[in-house]
C-alpha cells in the first residue's frame, strides 16, 4: 500500500494544457476560452445535460405526470409532494432510512476508525492479510449472505427491526470506511506521535487526543460516502424488513409501484423519489470537493 499521491485537497486540479501548441505561461481566461474551440464546451454541455437529464425528468413527472408528448409540463403543481408528505407509510420509511443510515454511519465510523488507525499506524501482526480480508468482504454479493442472516435474525428476533438492518449495513460500510480512513491516518507525519509520546502520552491517548482530531477531515469524508451508500442500500432493506417498523425508503418506493401495474401513481412516486434524492443532492452540492477527494483518494499511484 503505497502512500497515495492523489490531488487530495481540491480534487480537480487545473488541467495541464493537453494541446501542445499552447506554450504560454499563464494565459488569460479569454485566451484559454479561445484555445478551447467549439467542441470542448459543447462536450461539457452534453456531459452536464446527460448527467442531469433523468433526475430533471423525475422532477418534471412529479409536477405533471401526463407527458402527452410534451417536454415541459403544462402546469406546475406541487400536489404530489403534498400527498407524499401526508402519506404516513412513506414518511415512516423516510424516517427509518434516516435512523438506519445515520446510526450505521456513526457505528461504522467508530468501529472502522479504530480499525483504520490500527491498520494504518500501529504494529498489528499480519495487517496485510487483515486488510485483504476486510476488502474482500466488500466483494461478497449481498445475496449470498441474505438467506442465512434472514434465518439468524428470525431466531434472534432481529427480523424487521432497525437494529437488524443497521448491523449488516455497518458490515458492508466497514471496508470502504477502513480503507479511506487508514489512508488518511497513514499520511499524517510520524513526528506527531513521537511528540505526543515525549509529552508522556500513551498510544491510545496519542490516538484520541492528537491523531483523531487531525484526521477529522478523512473521517468526515468517509462518513459522507458511507451515509450515501447506506441510504442507497436496497437488497438488505427489502429482504430483512416487512413493515413500516423498519422498512427503509428504498424498499418503500419500490413497493409503491409493485402491486398494480395498470394504475401506477407516477406523480406521487416521482415526487417521493425526488424527496429521497434531496438529502443526497444537498450533500453533493455542499461537499463536492470533499467527495471527489475521497473518491479519488489513492486513485493514482505516485
Amino acid at each position: 500500500m503505497t502512500a497515495a499521491a492523489a490531488p487530495r485537497p481540491g480534487g480537480f486540479a487545473l488541467p495541464t494544457p493537453s494541446a501542445p501548441t499552447v506554450h504560454r505561461g499563464n494565459p488569460s481566461f479569454l485566451a484559454r476560452v479561445r484555445d478551447l474551440g467549439i467542441w470542448t464546451p459543447f462536450g461539457i454541455g452534453v456531459l452536464i445535460a446527460y448527467c442531469l437529464f433523468p433526475f430533471l425528468w423525475l422532477v418534471r413527472l412529479s409536477m405533471d405526470p401526463a407527458a402527452n408528448g410534451a417536454f415541459f409540463p403544462s402546469k406546475f403543481s406541487l400536489d404530489n409532494y403534498a400527498s407524499v408528505l401526508k402519506n404516513g407509510e412513506f414518511m415512516h420509511a423516510f424516517l427509518n432510512s434516516v435512523i438506519i443510515a445515520g446510526s450505521a454511519t456513526v457505528v461504522a465510523m467508530a468501529i472502522g476508525g479504530a480499525a483504520a488507525y490500527a491498520l494504518g499506524r500501529l504494529p498489528v501482526p499480519g495487517k496485510q492479510y487483515i486488510m485483504f480480508g476486510v476488502l474482500a468482504v466488500s466483494m461478497f454479493p449481498g445475496i449470498s449472505i441474505v438467506g442465512p442472516i434472514f434465518e439468524l435474525w428470525r431466531t434472534l428476533g432481529l427480523y424487521d427491526t432497525k437494529t437488524g438492518l443497521v448491523i449488516p449495513n455497518v458490515t458492508f460500510a466497514l471496508p470502504m470506511g477502513i480503507w479511506i480512513m487508514s489512508s488518511f491516518f497513514r499520511d499524517l507525519p510520524r513526528d506527531l506521535e513521537h511528540a505526543a509520546y515525549m509529552d508522556g502520552a500513551t498510544p491510545f491517548q496519542a490516538f484520541r487526543k492528537v491523531m483523531l482530531p487531525l484526521a477529522a477531515p478523512g473521517v468526515f469524508t468517509s462518513a459522507i460516502l458511507v451515509f450515501i451508500n447506506t441510504w442507497n442500500e436496497f437488497l438488505l432493506g427489502n429482504s430483512l424488513s416487512a413493515t413500516t417498523h423498519s422498512m427503509p425508503v428504498t424498499a418503500a418506493i419500490s413497493n409503491f409501484q409493485g402491486e398494480n401495474t395498470l394504475e401506477i401513481p407516477v406523480g406521487p412516486i416521482s415526487a417521493a423519489s425526488v424527496m429521497v434524492m434531496l438529502p443526497l443532492v444537498a450533500m453533493v452540492l455542499v461537499f463536492q470537493r470533499r467527495i471527489v477527494a475521497g473518491l479519488t483518494a489513492g486513485g493514482v499511484k505516485g
Binding site: 480537480f12 487545473l14 488541467p15 495541464t16 494544457p17 481566461f29 470542448t40 461539457i44 456531459l47 452536464i48 448527467c51 442531469l52 433523468p54 433526475f55 425528468w57 423525475l58 408528448g69 417536454f71 468501529i111 504494529p123 498489528v124 496485510q128 492479510y129 486488510m131 485483504f132 480480508g133 476488502l135 466488500s138 449481498g142 445475496i143 449470498s144 438467506g147 442465512p148 434465518e151 439468524l152 458490515t171 466497514l174 470502504m176 477502513i178 480503507w179 498510544p203 491510545f204 450515501i228 442507497n232 436496497f234 437488497l235 418506493i253 419500490s254 407516477v266 423519489s273 429521497v276 434524492m277 443526497l280 443532492v281 463536492q288 470537493r289 471527489v292 473518491l295 489513492g298 486513485g299
Partner: protein, 327 residues
C-alpha cells in the same frame, strides 16, 4: 475524574492495535463469513421454512436441479449479458467523459463536478424508476418516443427481453460512467504534459500519443475500474428488480436467488443459487487477482525471494481493491 478509557490508555502500541482492530474483525466474521458458510451448509439440505419438518441432508441434489434447469441458465445469460454490455459501455463513455473534462477549463469544473456526482449519488432504485419511465411511451415526450420507435416495436422498450436488458445497461451506464470518468480523470491529470510535447516534436500522431502515452498511464486505473464494475454488475439486483421486476426473462441470478430465499422461503434451493452467484463472482475476482497481482512492473520479479514477492503481490491487489471501494 477517571477517564472512561482508563483501560485502553494503559496499553502499548501492539496490544492497542489488536484491541482496536478486533471489533471490526468480529463483526465481519459474524455478518459476512458465517452467513456464507451457513449458506453452503443450507444448500446441501432440503429445507423450506414453510415445511420445517421436511428437513434432510440431500448432498448436491439442489445444485444438480439448478444446473439442469432452463430458468437458471436464462438468468445467467441475462446477468452475464448485462455485465458485459454495461461494463463495456461504462468504460468507453467514462473514458470519453474523462478526456472531455481534462480538456475543459478549470473554471467549468465546479458545475461539472456537481453534474458528474449527481448520477453517482442517485440511489439505484430512483435511477431505475427514472429510466423505466423514460423508456415507457406514456411518460416520454415526443422526440424521445420517436427515437425509441426506431429500436423497439411499438416503441415499447421494456416489452422485449434484449431491449429491456439494453435499457438496464443504459440506466447502469448513466449511474456509473461519470464515476469511472472521475477515476480516469485523476489518472489523466497525473500525466506530464511534456510527454505530449515531446511526442509532438517527434511527429507522433494524436492517435499514437493516445495509445502510447495516455492508455499506458491509465492502465492501473482502467484495470481496477473494469474488474470491479464487472464484479458489481454480476451481482446486480435492485436495477432489474425495479425496472422490469424480471419480466420477459430479465431476472438476474441474484434476483432468482432472492425469489427462492425470501419469497418462496425455499432455503435449500435459494442458498444453492446464492452460492453459485458467489462462485461466479469469485471466479472473476480470481482472474482479477491474477491480473493485478502480476501488475507491479515485471522487471524485478526474478530477484526477490518468494515471500517478498507474495507480499508485494498481496499489497498491489489490496491497494487495487481499496481504490475500487467506491466504484
Amino acid at each position: 475524574m477517571r477517564s472512561p478509557f482508563a483501560v485502553l490508555d494503559r496499553l502499548d502500541e501492539r496490544r492497542l492495535g489488536l484491541v482496536l482492530v478486533i471489533p471490526a474483525i468480529v463483526l465481519m466474521l459474524i455478518v459476512a463469513a458465517y452467513p456464507v458458510l451457513s449458506a453452503v451448509w443450507m444448500s446441501l439440505h432440503r429445507y423450506n421454512v414453510k415445511v420445517p419438518q421436511d428437513y434432510a441432508f440431500i448432498g448436491f441434489s439442489n445444485y444438480a436441479r439448478i444446473l439442469a434447469s432452463r430458468t437458471w441458465w436464462t438468468a445467467m445469460e441475462t446477468t452475464v449479458g448485462f455485465a458485459v454490455l454495461s461494463v463495456t459501455c461504462e468504460f468507453f463513455l467514462g473514458l470519453v467523459m474523462a478526456l472531455v473534462m481534462n480538456r475543459a477549463l478549470g473554471k467549468a469544473t465546479g458545475a461539472v463536478r456537481v453534474a458528474v456526482l449527481v448520477p453517482w449519488a442517485t440511489i439505484t432504485v430512483v435511477t431505475a424508476l427514472a429510466w423505466k419511465w423514460i423508456f415507457t411511451p406514456t411518460f416520454t415526450f415526443g422526440a424521445l418516443n420517436w427515437v425509441m420507435g426506431l429500436f423497439a416495436e411499438e416503441s415499447c422498450v421494456l416489452c422485449g427481453r434484449w431491449t429491456s436488458i439494453l435499457a438496464m445497461v443504459f440506466a447502469d451506464t448513466w449511474k456509473t460512467a461519470p464515476f469511472i470518468a472521475l477515476l480516469l480523470l485523476a489518472g489523466l491529470q497525473s500525466i506530464d504534459g511534456e510527454m505530449y510535447e515531446a511526442a509532438d516534436v517527434d511527429g507522433a500522431s494524436k492517435w499514437t500519443q493516445f495509445t502510447r502515452i495516455t492508455v499506458p498511464a491509465l492502465k492501473p486505473a482502467i484495470l481496477v475500474a473494469l474488474l470491479f464494475r464487472s464484479l458489481d454488475s454480476l451481482r446486480m439486483f435492485d436495477l432489474a428488480y425495479v425496472m422490469t421486476n424480471g419480466a420477459n426473462d430479465t431476472k438476474t441470478t441474484s434476483m432468482l436467488s432472492y425469489d427462492y430465499l425470501i419469497r418462496r422461503l425455499d432455503m435449500g434451493v435459494g442458498s444453492a443459487m446464492s452460492v453459485l452467484v458467489f462462485v461466479t463472482v469469485l471466479i472473476v475476482a480470481f482472474i482479477f487477482v491474477r491480473v493485478l497481482g502480476a501488475a507491479p512492473e515485471g522487471a524485478d520479479k526474478v530477484k526477490k525471494p518468494k515471500r517478498a514477492r507474495r507480499s508485494a503481490e498481496l499489497e498491489s491487489v489490496t491497494d487495487a481493491m481499496g481504490r475500487a471501494q467506491i466504484a
